[in-house]
C-alpha cells in the first residue's frame, strides 16, 4: 500500500469521527453540575463538624494490668559466659572475609567490562565505541561495511575516550573517507547523564581540532539500539528518520548508502523548500508534500551551510538531556 493511500484512508476515517452532539451535551451538563457544586462550596463554606472535644486523659490505670506489667519476673540464673571463643568462629570469619573480597573483586571487574556508554561516529563509515564507566574503550565495532574495514586496522581497546577518538579521526584507515567537505557526526548514548555530558564535551573538543565540519549529539540508549538494528550508526539513523519524514519518497534503506554530508544536504533542502512553499502558498501544505513535489533526491548543488536552517525549525530549542541535543562545531 502506498503511503499516500494510507494517509488518505486515515484522513477519511478521522474526518468522519466528529464529536457526537449527545456527548457534547452530556459533558456540558456534567461540567455545569460540577461548577455549581464548586460555587456552592465556595460561597456557603463547608459545614464543618464541631471539633471533637478532647477526652480527658484517664488517670485510672487498671491496677491489675499495672501490676502485671510491673511484675518482676523471677531472676533467671546468670548464664555462664565462657571467656574462650570457639576456634572455628575465627575460621568462619576469615572465610567470609575472603568470600566478600572475591565477590567484590569480581564485581569491580564486571563493572569495568560492562559498557555504560556508546559513541557512534558517522561519516560514511559508521563506527561504534563502547565505553565503560571509567570512559575507557572496551569495545569497537564497525556498524557498516566501511566502518568494519576501518576498525579492522585499528587498536583502540583500553584507550581513554579522548585518546581513542583522536587516534581514530587522525588514522590512515579513516583518511580515505575524509575530504574537505566531509561531515563527522558524533552521537553519545548513555543512561548516565554525567558520563554523557563528559563524553560530549570530549567529542566537541576533539572535533574542534579537526579540519572537518562536525557536530555532536546525544541520543537515548534505546534509539542507539534501534539504529544498530537497522545497520546504521545513531547519527545516520536519526538523519535518515528525519529525511524520510520530510520526503516520503525516500525510504530508510536508501539512506544507508548516503554519506552524512549528503543526508544533511537533503534535509536542509527539504526544510528550505518547505519554508519557501509556506511563505508563498495560500493553502495549507505540510513540509512532506512540498519536499516530495520538489524531489529532495538528486539535489546536491546546494552547499551545506551551517545548521542554522535546521535549528530554526527546531522551534523548541535544543535539548541536551532527553536526547538529540546539538553541540555544533564548525
Amino acid at each position: 500500500m502506498k503511503n499516500s493511500d494510507m494517509d488518505a484512508r486515515i484522513k477519511a476515517a478521522f474526518d468522519a469521527l466528529e464529536l457526537p452532539d449527545s456527548v457534547r451535551e452530556k459533558t456540558l451538563a456534567t461540567i455545569e453540575g460540577e461548577a455549581k457544586k464548586k460555587i456552592n462550596r465556595d460561597c456557603c463554606g463547608a459545614d464543618e463538624s464541631k471539633a471533637a472535644q478532647a477526652l480527658p486523659l484517664t488517670e485510672h490505670v487498671d491496677q491489675n494490668v499495672a501490676d502485671s506489667i510491673k511484675q518482676v519476673s523471677p531472676a533467671s540464673p546468670a548464664s555462664v559466659i565462657s571467656s574462650k571463643r570457639p576456634r572455628y568462629g575465627r575460621v568462619v570469619l576469615a572465610m567470609a572475609a575472603c568470600l566478600i573480597f572475591v565477590v567484590a573483586l569480581f564485581g569491580v571487574s564486571r563493572i569495568g567490562s560492562n559498557p555504560t556508554a556508546f559513541v557512534d561516529i558517522d561519516i560514511n563509515p559508521s563506527i561504534e565505541l563502547q565505553l565503560n564507566r571509567f570512559d575507557k574503550v572496551i569495545g569497537v565495532e564497525g556498524v557498516n561495511e566501511d566502518g568494519r574495514s576501518v576498525v579492522s586496522n585499528l587498536s583502540l581497546i583500553g584507550l581513554s575516550y579522548a585518546e581513542a577518538l583522536e587516534k581514530l579521526t587522525t588514522s590512515d584507515a579513516l583518511a580515505p573517507y575524509l575530504s574537505a567537505d566531509s561531515f563527522i557526526q558524533v552521537t553519545v548514548s548513555s543512561d548516565n547523564q554525567d558520563q554523557e555530558q563528559f563524553l560530549t564535551s570530549q567529542s566537541e573538543a576533539q572535533l574542534s581540532n579537526l579540519p572537518y565540519r562536525g557536530s555532536c549529539h546525544t541520543a537515548s540508549v534505546q534509539m542507539h539500539g534501534e539504529a544498530h538494528a537497522h545497520g546504521m550508526g545513531c547519527g545516520r539513523y536519526a538523519a535518515a528518520l528525519e529525511l524520510t519524514e520530510l520526503d516520503p519518497s525516500i525510504n530508510i534503506d536508501d539512506c544507508e548508502k548516503l554519506s552524512m554530508r549528503e543526508l544533511r544536504d537533503r534535509i536542509e533542502h527539504c526544510h528550505r523548500t518547505s519554508t519557501d512553499t509556506q511563505s508563498t502558498s495560500d493553502t495549507e501544505s505540510n513540509g512532506e508534500e512540498s519536499c516530495a513535489e520538489n524531489s529532495c533526491m538528486g539535489s546536491e548543488s546546494e552547499s551545506a551551510s551551517t545548521d542554522d536552517a535546521r535549528n530554526s525549525d527546531n522551534i523548541h530549542g535544543q535539548r541536551h538531556r532527553h536526547g538529540y541535543g546539538s553541540h555544533h562545531n564548525q
Binding site: 459533558t27 505540510n286 527546531n314
Partner: protein
C-alpha cells in the same frame, strides 16, 4: 469544546472501542480543563496540546485500571451485522478498520502517529508535547507507520 472537542474525541476513540469509555475519558478531560482555574495557556495551540496530553493520560489511566480489573471493560458498541471490508461499498467499515489498526498499536507510537498523520504536528512539536526527544519521535512515527501499513494491507 467547539474548537477542540472533535480532536479530543478522536484521541479518546483511538484508545477505546467503546463509545461509553471514550465519553468518560472525554468528560474527564474537559472537566479538568473547566476546573483548572490556575492553568494559563500561552495561546490556542498550547491549549490544544494540553487537552490532547491530558486526554491521552486519562485514557491510559483508564486502560490500566481496566487491565487491573478495577473497572469493567465496556462492551464495544458495534453492530453485529456482517459488514463488507470494501471501502467503496461500505466506507464505514474502512473507517473501523483504520481505527482498529490504530487501537492495535502500542502507545507510543499510537498517539505520536495520530498527531503526525492526522493533526499535522511536526516531530519537534510532538517531542515538546510528549516530553520526548525529537529523534525518538521520528523513531515512533517510523515504527508506527510500518505497523499501521501492515495492519491495513
Amino acid at each position: 469544546m467547539d474548537s477542540y472537542g472533535s480532536t479530543v474525541w478522536r484521541v479518546c476513540m483511538t484508545f477505546f472501542k467503546s463509545e461509553q469509555d471514550s465519553q468518560d475519558a472525554f468528560q474527564d478531560t474537559f472537566l479538568k480543563y473547566a476546573l483548572a482555574d490556575d492553568m494559563t495557556f500561552n495561546d490556542d495551540s498550547h491549549c490544544k496540546a494540553w487537552l490532547i496530553k491530558v486526554a491521552s493520560n486519562i485514557c491510559k489511566d483508564m486502560l490500566r485500571a481496566m487491565y487491573r480489573g478495577e473497572v469493567p471493560l465496556e462492551d464495544a458498541t458495534e453492530s453485529i451485522e456482517p459488514v463488507s471490508h470494501d471501502a467503496s461499498s461500505q466506507p464505514e467499515s474502512d473507517y473501523r478498520d483504520v481505527l482498529d489498526a490504530f487501537r492495535g498499536l502500542d502507545d507510543p507510537p499510537r498517539l505520536p502517529l495520530y498527531l503526525s498523520l492526522y493533526e499535522g504536528y511536526t516531530a519537534p512539536e510532538i517531542a515538546d508535547m510528549l516530553d520526548a526527544s525529537v529523534n525518538t519521535v521520528y523513531s515512533w512515527i517510523f515504527r508506527g507507520k510500518k505497523a499501521l501499513k501492515e495492519a491495513l494491507s
